[in-house]
Amino acid sequence: MWMLGFDGVTKRFGSLTALDGCTFAARPGRLTGFLGPNGAGKTTAMRAVFGLVELDAGTIRWRGMPVSAAERARFGYMPEERGLYPRMRVRDQLVYLGQLCGRGAKDTGRSVDGWLERLGLADRAADRLDALSHGNQQRVQLIAALVGDPVLLVLDEPFAGLDPIAMDAMGALLSEVAAGGVTVLFSSHQLDLVQDLCQDVVIIEHGRIVLAGELAELRAKVPQRSVEIRYRGPAPDWSQLPSVTVVAATDGQARLRAGRDTDLAAMLATVQDRADIVSFAYQPPTLSELFREAVAA
């Protein structure tokens, strides 16, 4: 069942159309990657979920009904422009934000303590936010999105500015949150990371949704396959293979594009005619390739 649904969502800023009839959905228990070049409309779409931009047309639905203020309070949000009260104490600040979601003070307090413990910030609870390092402030910002015990989590560039270790930790945390039945939508430019992490992707360009759906399915649906061959010996005669185009070929290594129904045995035979195969990879295009193609179209 779809939980979060965009239905023909349109937003114009003067003559600029930021969102142009966007229709897509995000499912619970899964991570949905929201991709697109800079200025494609990702931030506007995410703000629209929280009523921060007023739509010119279309509806954003939750469980099939237009989103109400009461439901919005159960959504967690991490905006692209991070920011909390710099002079407020970490724990007070998080409890305040949790209470604004409609939770009781004691309940929120327990949940905040749990998250602070979990992210290694328990000893900083009474410190002012601006006394924390950049990385720790990011963690507090993440807790701010989680503290309302959200049913939907929307994160704008959650991996931006994180070191590789922190990225892994963030990825693991998001997967765990999604596994708990939460619908998670996040934007990112790190396509390899999204490919490893997400079950679903949505690609937006110039305000239009150009590709959306289950990542594995989208990749499998593409008629091309990419082939990577390493070999020892003289270069094979690629022209003997009718449905293969050469993307790049250097000494001992070639990248080819082949059709989905290419005869793999024939291809291997052609190579083995003149050289010894060291490695051979035949796979659907990566998310990176899908993205470039979708955005270029």
């Binding site: 009523g51 047309a57 009461a70 919005r72 309070a73 009260y85 979601c101």
Partner: protein, 484 residues
């Protein structure tokens, strides 16, 4: 989640966080010290010199010292007489500050420096009296007769004041209260202004607005800072009262409880109105440093309104101008408390002024909410008011409606469209019940203002201003509601 609870949480955060800050705490301490010192120090200075030491030397009539003491008693000065064997001993006492004045031979007063005028009047008065008594006795006049001749004529003092029927005490109370109100509005209005600008520049506002509507945030902020400000003022006033009672020398102005209640009510109304405007303008600035220049217009209006109200009410609280400024929402918070304190306002005048101001606050809240929503997520250079205003207008599907509302002259149009336009125009011509109600209420207000001020023109002005204002508010409100 209900809006009241969110608003209260916002207000509570303002109170807790602000009262925790060092700046706020030291501000309160400084204010208390200044106020208490302003009351206690003059009282101590005044209380110090009520007793004086007077030295006598040379030939002194036997009754002179007692007469000086009596004369002093009449003006609340305790005189302690000292006698010296010679002028040199007396002058030594004078130089040693043992006495304030040395009376030599009952006709020369020697001072250390400049004469103390009050003491001189006491001593010279006593010398005159004793001398007259001596001469009368020498001339054989009966002391009893003399007493009758010398009986003092009672001379009455009356403080006229600026306005007939009111004492200067009332006037002072009115002026002081208006000034305190003005100061409080400037002070706490600016806290709202910088608070909004800080939330915008630290970007925390996006996290907050994802959880609650802008109106809850703005209303909670205004309420929280207002409560804090009111508390601060109440504490200061209490300290002033306790200090005044403790030194027991300063007159506490005779302000009745009813007047005080109105002053509190006007603090709330005036603050709510101006703070709302400050909050809306604060959202235009991207940096806290820009906030005060952005809020310039509100500050100018505030100062102008205060002076207009002060000039009108201080010159004549019963004039048509005074009545008008005390009813007009922008100036009412500064004019009405003064008129109430002076007893110049009939019981229904503050009621009408309150109703008008509440209506103005409601309208302003809608306008401020719209500017705030349009501006608060905007980054980059400081926004113009008009840009913030139009940021929330959405052309969208409504722009496709036939422009019947604005077309006055019929144009050549396809028949179907003409027919559609005519029906819309007809529907617009017939007044809706709401419009009728607006016109009736507007006419009522106009008539009231006209009657009160005795000026037909002012009545017409008030009526049309009300109708125009309410139409604008309703229009903004409904266009807001339709598309959400």
């Amino acid at each position: 989640m209900n809006g009241m609870r969110q608003g209260w949480l916002v207000a509570r955060r303002e109170i807790l966080e602000r009262s925790r800050s060092k700046a706020f705490r030291s501000g309160i301490v400084i204010m208390l010290v200044v106020v208490i010192a302003a009351i206690v120090v003059p009282a101590m200075i005044k209380a110090g010199p009520v007793s004086r030491d007077v030295g006598f030397t040379g030939t002194t009539p036997a009754t002179l010292a007692d007469t000086v003491i009596d004369q002093g008693k009449a003006v609340d000065v305790t005189v302690r007489p000292h006698y010296y064997g010679g002028v040199a001993a007396g002058e030594k006492a004078l130089r040693g500050h043992d006495v304030a004045v040395l009376v030599v031979d009952a006709h020369r007063l020697t001072w250390l420096g400049k004469p103390d005028e009050r003491l001189r009047a006491i001593v010279t008065g006593a010398i005159q009296l004793v001398t007259v008594q001596q001469r009368a006795a020498a001339a054989g006049i009966d002391p009893g007769q003399l007493h009758a001749v010398m009986a003092p004529v009672p001379v009455e003092s009356k403080e006229l004041g600026l306005v007939a029927g009111r004492s200067p005490d009332n006037e002072a109370a009115a002026t002081v209260m208006s000034m305190l109100l003005f100061m409080a509005i400037i002070l706490y209005g600016n806290l709202v202004l910088t608070g909004v600008a800080e939330e915008k520049s630290s970007r925390v506002v996006e996290v907050l607005l994802a959880r609650m509507p802008a109106r809850n945030l703005l209303a909670g902020k205004v309420a929280g800072i207002g409560l804090l400000g009111f508390g601060q003022f109440a504490v200061t006033a209490l300290a002033a009262l306790v200090a005044a009672l403790a030194v027991d020398s300063v007159d506490i102005p005779a302000v009745s409880g009813g007047v005080l209640a109105w002053v509190v009510a006007w603090f709330v109304l005036g603050y709510a109105m101006y703070a709302m405007a400050y909050g809306a303008l604060g959202s235009l600035a991207s940096r806290t440093e820009d906030a005060s220049s952005v809020a310039g217009p509100v500050s100018y209006v505030l100062v102008a309104a205060y002076w207009a109200a002060y000039m009108a009410v201080a010159s004549n609280p019963d004039s048509a101008g005074s009545k008008l400024v005390s009813l007009f929402p922008v100036t009412a918070p500064f004019a009405m408390p003064g008129r109430i304190a002076l007893g110049a306002a009939a019981w229904w005048e503050p009621v009408i002024a309150t109703a008008l101001t509440v209506a103005a606050i409601a309208g302003l809240a809608v306008l401020a909410g719209r500017v705030y929503t349009g501006a608060i997520l905007h980054t980059g250079p400081t926004l113009k008011l008009r840009e913030a205003w139009s940021a929330t207008t959405r052309p969208g599907p409504r722009a496709a409606e036939p422009p019947a509302r604005r077309t006055g002259t019929p144009m050549r149009t396809p028949r179907a469209l003409t027919a559609k336009m005519t029906t819309t125009a007809k529907a617009n011509l017939a007044m809706s019940p709401r419009t009728t109600a607006e016109v009736i209420v507007g006419a009522g207000i106009g008539a009231a203002v006209g009657l009160v001020t005795g000026e037909v023109f002012l009545g017409l002005l008030a009526a049309s201003a009300f109708i125009a204002g309410i139409t604008l508010i309703v229009k903004t409100w409904t266009s807001h509601g339709k598309s959400t």
